[in-house]
């Protein structure tokens, strides 16, 4: 009696001859790749290739017009870090911006989300109201606030008129070097923090209520509940948003450009606004590309910190 022994195909020829293997290959390898291929090609075309080109351009003196390009090595980076004083100032402003956005909106969003999580009736209305600024276009938001903060026809001027005062509240917040950057951060935060609050609220609502019950039985007050149940419960969301906000801080551009274009006297200049001016006004696209690469390196550094923490067992 002949005994049929099924052996596992080892060579490519054997594998191709084996129908089971062919089906598995088709289902588990080929079809997923066929589906992902269009996206991969688009990604390569619009992200990966331009990114590599950007790195190359940062090593050239490209003006941004035509293709007359000369390789200059690391000259642009040398100028950026050792000769261009305004870059240091812009970088400092980016760090101030990041410090602001890693504290103020997070505190506001956590506080409000914790309060709203307790609201049973009308909660949706509150959420919607607080979220509305986020869906407004930056051009709309900046136009509104430019008028509100206008020292001659804004809120401050109205208060001065009401109280019979002269130039007490009608301060040119966007026109003073000492207040311009923080005023823009305030306006950007007005639009942004509602988004953060909604994320935290959604995360808080996924915490099992039984944990709060157990905490109450153990005698925890509201602060203890927040500290020992809520915060650990939303930690993945919280830390992920920390990472994203840190990265976004280096990309800050639209609100600053629309409100002060980096002025007065460079007081609100950040790397992205400098990059834009170098590339499009000064015909220094190669130099601007170097600034873009530096921003990417900062973002990569922030991601690396979070990846390291994750590898060390942090729940991110």
């Amino acid at each position: 009696m002949a005994v049929y022994v099924q052996t596992k195909p080892t060579t490519i020829a054997e594998k191709l001859a084996d129908e089971t293997w062919r089906r598995k290959f088709l289902r588990n390898v080929l079809i997923p790749w066929i589906f992902i291929c269009p996206l991969l090609i688009i990604h390569l075309y619009v992200v990966a290739i331009p990114a590599v080109q950007g790195v190359y351009m940062s090593l050239t003196d490209w003006t941004g017009v035509g293709m007359n390009v000369n390789f200059v090595g690391l000259d642009n980076y040398y100028e950026l870090f050792f000769e261009d004083e305004t870059f240091g100032k812009a970088l400092g402003n980016n760090i101030i911006w990041m410090a602001f956005f890693l504290t103020v909106p997070f505190i506001m969003a956590l506080f409000c989300a914790a309060m709203l999580a307790q609201v049973k009736r009308g909660g949706m209305l509150y959420r919607s109201i607080l979220f509305i600024p986020y869906v407004l276009a930056s051009v709309v938001t900046t136009t509104i606030w430019k008028n509100l903060l206008n020292p001659q026809r804004g809120i401050g001027a109205a208060v001065d008129n009401l109280l019979g005062l002269e130039d007490v509240f009608g301060v040119a917040f966007l026109g003073r070097p000492d207040s311009a950057l923080m005023s823009i951060a305030f306006i950007d935060n007005w639009h942004f923090w509602g988004f953060l609050m909604i994320l935290f609220l959604a995360s808080m609502q996924s915490i099992p209520p039984v944990l709060y019950d157990a905490a109450k039985i153990d005698g925890a007050n509201r602060w203890d509940e927040f500290r020992h149940v809520t915060l650990p419960g939303i930690r993945p969301t919280l830390l992920f948003m920390y990472m994203m906000v840190a990265i976004w801080s280096f990309l800050a551009f639209d609100y600053i450009f629309l409100l002060t274009q980096g002025g007065p006297g460079g007081a609100s200049e950040v790397i992205a606004t400098q990059l834009y001016k170098n590339a499009f006004f000064r015909f220094q696209a190669g130099y601007g590309a170097a600034q873009g690469v530096v921003i990417s390196i900062f973002a990569g550094f922030i991601i690396m910190i979070f990846v390291t923490l994750r590898r060390r067992g942090w729940d991110i």
Binding site: T63, G66, N68, Q152, V171, G175, G263, P264, G265, Q284
Partner: protein
């Protein structure tokens, strides 16, 4: 067989008629910024389509014309007519081979017959003509006539008279100049350029532009110091911080309604000035910007330029359109209908007679000044790009007290010397 014959006849007819529609008409494309300017200019420019039915103009409105054009042209596309914001942009495009030299068209179509001689020179890059200047500009001092009459003031001729007048204006509780840069930060360069010209004199500016003297020359630094002093005194918009928050609406309304007495602004602002004063019911007029010795100096600038795309399939037709567009007749019509600053071409006296006398006087005086060595230079037309950005960005640091006028001038000198050595300076009319 009958069906085959019928098909053959139809196909032959299509082939015979197709060239009439597709090949006999050449379409020239032009991209233009959306908005009220296009609303007025557009219908006049499209009148070109009646001149020669075989060449038709197509205007494509764009939101951010220059950046869209630059990207498209660099990518091998874009419109046939390439409009740039000024000569320094032309220089970069010509160096990159993105626009065509137009000398042959200029000779063939007689552009030299109607353009002023110096105006065609502004479009030269390495000795070849690459662009035509579209809008002749200058800066003057507008003032509110009712405010001046009510207070018994007369417009100043000299900087000393301006000083005396400014004290009286402030004593009357008014703002001296209705200014601010919140809408357009490069507004700063208008004043830097004017003070250099009016205080140090256009010859000094010419020497510095030619590299004969540095920007740290005492007279040029003195001009920046004077501008800073006026800024600190609150002449410009009521104070340095207010200057940074005052927008275009403030600029126009405060002058037209009489809360500010004067305004140093470009000839391009005439249209807006007329509109706002019509609304307020008050009267405007202008005088030259006061100078140190009372001479009427006018800085000359160019608002936009037109060139022919190197990728254009129809450069001849594009040149045909440019010939029509820059003709004194078309420019005159755009001046009278839209108050468009005319290209530097000889516009007939009959056209000027149709204009508001104040506007006609402005262009007559400008023409006289350019012919009699009383012209200066606007920064956006005659300075290379990096120096130009430096001029309007870094001067804010002088006004905010971060650096001195001398430090500002030293920074400019360093940058300008680099650009001068690299040959990046736009063509400067010789004196």
């Amino acid at each position: 067989m009958k069906r085959f014959k019928l098909l053959f006849v139809v196909a032959a007819l299509i082939m015979a008629l197709a060239p009439v529609g597709a090949q006999d008409v050449t379409t020239v494309t032009m991209w233009f910024g959306e908005g009220s300017t296009l609303d007025c200019w557009g219908p006049i420019m499209l009148e070109f389509n009646d001149v020669d039915p075989s060449v038709q103009l197509e205007i494509v409105p764009q939101a951010d014309t220059w950046n869209v054009t630059r990207t498209a042209v660099a990518g091998g596309g874009g419109p046939d007519i390439v409009r740039t914001p000024g000569p320094s942009f032309v220089y970069e495009m010509a160096q990159a081979g993105l626009i065509l030299p137009m000398d042959a068209f200029a000779d063939e179509m007689g552009w030299g017959d109607f353009f002023f001689d110096w105006a065609l020179d502004l479009g030269l890059v390495d000795g070849q003509l690459y662009s035509l200047s579209d809008e002749l500009e200058t800066l003057v001092m507008y003032y509110n006539v009712e405010v001046f009459e009510a207070n018994g003031w007369t417009p100043p001729d000299t900087m000393d008279e301006l000083n005396a007048l400014a004290e009286e204006v402030e004593a009357a509780g008014l703002t001296v100049f209705s200014h601010g840069n919140a809408s357009w930060r490069p507004t700063n360069e208008h004043f830097v350029g004017e003070y250099w010209t009016q205080v140090a004199g256009p010859h000094k500016v010419y020497q510095a532009l030619s590299g004969e003297i540095p920007w740290t020359d005492e007279s040029l630094v003195g001009a920046i110091e004077l501008l800073d002093a006026h800024m600190q005194a609150g002449w410009y918009g009521g104070g340095v911080d207010l200057y940074f928050t005052n927008d275009g609406v403030y600029r126009r309304t405060s002058l037209a309604e009489g809360s500010a007495a004067m305004n140093i602004e470009g000839s391009w602002a005439i249209r807006g000035t007329v509109d706002y004063f019509n609304e307020s019911g008050q009267t405007w007029d202008w005088v030259p910007v006061p100078s140190h010795d009372g001479t009427d100096y006018y800085t000359i600038g160019m608002g936009n330029t037109s060139s022919i795309n190197a990728n254009s399939q129809h450069p001849q037709a594009a040149a045909q359109f440019l010939t029509w567009y820059f003709s004194p007749a078309t420019q005159g019509k755009m001046l009278t209908s839209c108050l468009k600053g005319p290209a530097p071409v000889a516009i007939g006296e009959d056209v000027m007679a149709e204009l508001d006398p104040r506007i006609a006087r402005l262009y007559a005086e400008l023409s006289d000044a350019s012919a009699n060595d009383r012209y200066g230079y606007t920064t956006w037309t005659f300075w290379p790009p990096k120096s130009d950005v430096y001029i309007y960005e870094e001067v804010e640091r002088v006004w905010t007290g971060e650096i001195t006028a001398m430090e500002y001038s030293e920074g400019l000198q360093e940058l300008f010397a680099e650009e001068l050595a690299a040959g990046d300076i736009p063509p400067i009319p010789t004196r």
